[in-house]
Symmetry: D2
Subunit: 324 residues, 4 copies
């Protein structure tokens, strides 16, 4: 293998740049030529591909977003689109790919590999942490800290006014951000897609709060079965029927995707990037380079996409115990 390319795809996450940097520099360190593909599969189809050098990734390890940009490509879902993409790679002489992204990215990479035999190793880049085959995904730690920092701020004003706050964090299918930011902020309740939400229990609990509680924080993952934070707040309000209690809702939104990556995300991203290049050179194709139990692990794309990654049970217990 002499030439490889790297791209970022799907929703961006903090640490993607650190990962791109690691891929580029490891490749050059190993004597490879390396290219950057812009806007993911879209750029692969449109031949938006540029040679990258050591200095191309200078001063980006600490930056949010992705210098390679990201996009969702509908054309790549068609055989014609993928054919075009393949022709472009071939024209450049690119023999291997590093794909940084999540579920959708890996699904595309798997099909692409099966159709054209082009080796791909993935890196888990998503804030949601919902990828099997790695303890944490790149961007998750930053997103949790951003959410936590926001909740800390809201706790200040909630306490000043004795209010009940419903805070919606990201997580359409996975409650990881909600659970860790909930534990970290000392939230009274956390509502996640993985478990059935019992609003009556919440209502009962809010009615019986000890007097020394000056405020309540309820963290809601956007994909909760009872609806969005706003919907849930209104349901709870209706059930509590206490005009003295003040309810507020905040949806944290896209701030959770940006920001300078944390130390943990930069180290994880760097290590996954290095491992992806090493994996390509060792013949590990159509799999993802993740970190489990502090070691690099290569997991076939099929498992990354298909297997479920459960919440840590102790974490749910922590919320119950510590919010008394």
């Amino acid at each position: 293998m002499k030439k490889i390319a790297v791209f970022t795809s799907g929703g961006d996450s903090p640490g993607m740049n650190a990962c791109v940097r690691a891929v580029v520099r490891t490749a050059i360190f190993k004597g490879l030529e390396v290219y950057g593909i812009y806007r993911g599969y879209e750029g692969m189809i449109e031949n938006d591909i540029k040679r990258m050098y050591t200095y191309s990734v200078s001063n980006i390890v600490q930056r949010g977003g992705t210098i390679l940009k990201s996009a969702r490509s509908t054309e790549f879902r068609t055989p014609e689109g993928r054919k075009k993409a393949y022709e472009n790679l071939k024209a450049h002489g690119i023999e291997g790919l590093v794909a940084i992204g999540g579920d959708g990215t890996f699904t595309g990479a798997k099909i692409f590999y099966e159709e054209f035999g082009i080796p791909v190793v993935g890196c888990p880049g998503t804030i949601d942490n919902d990828i099997y085959g790695t303890d944490y995904t790149i961007g998750f730690d930053t997103a949790v800290n951003t959410a936590l920092d926001a909740i800390d701020k809201i706790r200040d004003t909630a306490a000043a006014h004795d209010r009940i706050f419903f805070i919606e964090v990201m997580g359409r299918d996975a409650g990881f951000i909600a659970v860790e930011s909930g534990i970290g902020s000392g939230a009274e309740f956390v509502m996640v897609p993985e478990t059935a939400t019992d609003l009556d229990a919440v209502v009962k609990s809010l009615k019986n709060l000890r007097k020394t509680k000056t405020s309540s924080i309820i963290v809601v993952a956007e994909g909760d079965d009872e609806g969005s934070a706003e919907v849930i707040m209104n349901k709870v309000k209706d059930k509590i029927k206490d005009k003295k209690k003040e309810f507020k809702v905040t949806t944290l939104g896209h701030i959770q995707r940006g920001g300078n990556p944390t130390a943990r995300d930069r180290v994880l991203a760097s290590r996954c990037g290095m491992a992806a290049v090493e994996g390509l050179l060792e013949g590990k194709f159509a799999c993802m380079a993740g970190i489990m139990n502090q070691e690099v692990v290569y997991t076939p794309f099929g498992d990354c996409i298909g297997k479920e990654k459960p919440l840590i049970q102790d974490h749910l217990k922590l919320i119950e115990y510590l919010s008394i």
Copy 2:
């Protein structure tokens, strides 16, 4: 004057604790007894009043929220409510008040002073910066920095996806937060209540963006004449009719009220708190202690409430010039 009391009222703002600390310690330094009234006028009516000592305000200068809590009191709007409040103060022997808050707080204080002759000096505690008689209000600088930090994060993800983001910041009647966070973040447009928003100009501009612009940020004060950020986004989207352009909206919400105060807010809060106590001792009643042109200025409550505080014209020009 031997005994004074301090309270916080209305929406809380970062730096209120630093102000309370300054009032308490300056009072003690000057040989006064000092009391804290909890939950603003509500606590004054309910006699929720406690003696404060030097150590009562230890380790709070850096904290958001207010240890004295805040509330909005409907009872204080009635003569009966105010009578009760006065009786409580009298029973404690309290001869002077420091009121930390905004418009509503000062309106109440003015009436209270007129009815019962109890000296009150105010400190401008609100994130909105919409109080005449001080260059900046306590909490404004922190709120702007919080908004800015959030917009910086959103810029990362906006740039990664070439998106157009509408970001709503606080400011029902005043555009100060929008303008300063807009300049600071390099926003393409800022929409504020003080000026008529011209959506057609925005649409025209967004259509003709130079190619090197990878994203657009539009900061909207919540009180803009064209509606909320979401409403405005939908109007713009309808007018642009370009399916390739991606539009997103984020409402920053209550994170803008919390957080550790910035250096500027802590210094301002400390100075206003000291000046309020000195003002009481010098016979300056029914006025607010603010800082203008680096000097302490006492402004009658009537002016603080009644006079308009205009945006800085240069700031509006900056947004126009620098977003090219």
Copy 3:
């Protein structure tokens, strides 16, 4: 077991408060009475022990430092001191202890258990991450992020002036903070106690830096074999003999011990605290509750103190590969 006590000892670390909170609330949740011992072993000897309630630990999960304070006790190193400590615990009816700290704390706890048979479970509270039996220690993640944030700032000014900066981070015997902050900041070199530092290689490398490198960052753990950052800088300067190159040194110092704990530290601290109480109730004495591979693990104090925790080899490789 009906009554337990918790204390913090040795150098403080961010997250200790979150751990104290978890111990107190888990204990109460499980029906125990719980006490706080102030200033570690010193307070145990001086009987500085207070009952703790659910609300005693409200609003501390996000705070640096330790509300129980910490101290190093010389008296506890004597049999008489330990006897006094034991008598005080006995008088309170305290039957179990949770000790939050590092090496020294656990050494004391081990002897105390051996002499008086009082059950103790430890929680790993130290920024250095040098405790065997847990993947990470409480406070390490915060310390790394603080160091990283400082190095990011220094990189700004280093780049503006094309300077070579030597930055000393904490770590007398362990290079974990240096390595992770080095990877995270894209440092050119990292010098740690665990490996022999080759200054000639550094000098050679600095002389041959590619032209596009605008600055160099060298992270030095305080316990490096070649001396402090200042000593090393002077050695390198003497060897390079290039008057055009500007060398600077910064010692980050105690900022690394403070600050609001990160999400990771709050979650880790909470989980260790809960596990410590559960361990006591399950009869796990004279051991530490740590997290390895995402699971709670109880490790005998002897192993925590005696066994070495090696650096992750991949991390050293990352610094080499990625600084080209």
Copy 4:
């Protein structure tokens, strides 16, 4: 005037990039051609000058350091050096300059203007705030917040161990950073070059601290008349002679020069940059564009350099009153 150039010189400060951006975009908005001179006067002499476009300053408003780099030039102090610099400017057709920097920068600009008649307007870029003609300098607010954030962290660990901390902040000739970070952090004492430091008073005070004080923070400007923080700590330690008291010292160093600029610094920098270009076009030569009392003010370089900027007296009083 058709062509102007901008450069940064002397010690860098956060916000310089925002200022460069404002100069470049205002110039283009006004129909001018604009050039960037790299490494200050050094680059002027070495002809390191490049045309700048709107996109040249994209995405830098939030960055610390300076994309134009900075340097101190000895050659520019010679008539020959300045001659070379002038010839280079002339060759490019550059008719006006914006100089971003402090005392030294303006001294050079003044001589250069006197010798060659080339119009120069300055912008006050230095963290020290020691420039007459502007209420605040660009970078000061960020430096104070960085210092404050560090002191907040140290306060955590100081309180946990009941320690006395001496913290050295930047300020060789001016105590502005020390005073504002001292007020903001609730420091017990602040020592600055502008006033004589009375160590005996400090010693007396430290001996008599009330029992509820758990720690003491003493902020020392690097240029204090009694020496560095370390020297002062040792003097105080010798005088106190209390082995129980623990003394520690931390020198914050270069972290104060870096970091993303605060909102205030970005707005100030943007406004000064715009005003500098407008000043050039209006024929305001050899002066600095600063902001006083919220208005743009142009002050002749001679005054900026020669007149003293005093500390705010109220600020010194605040430290005395509020540390009781």
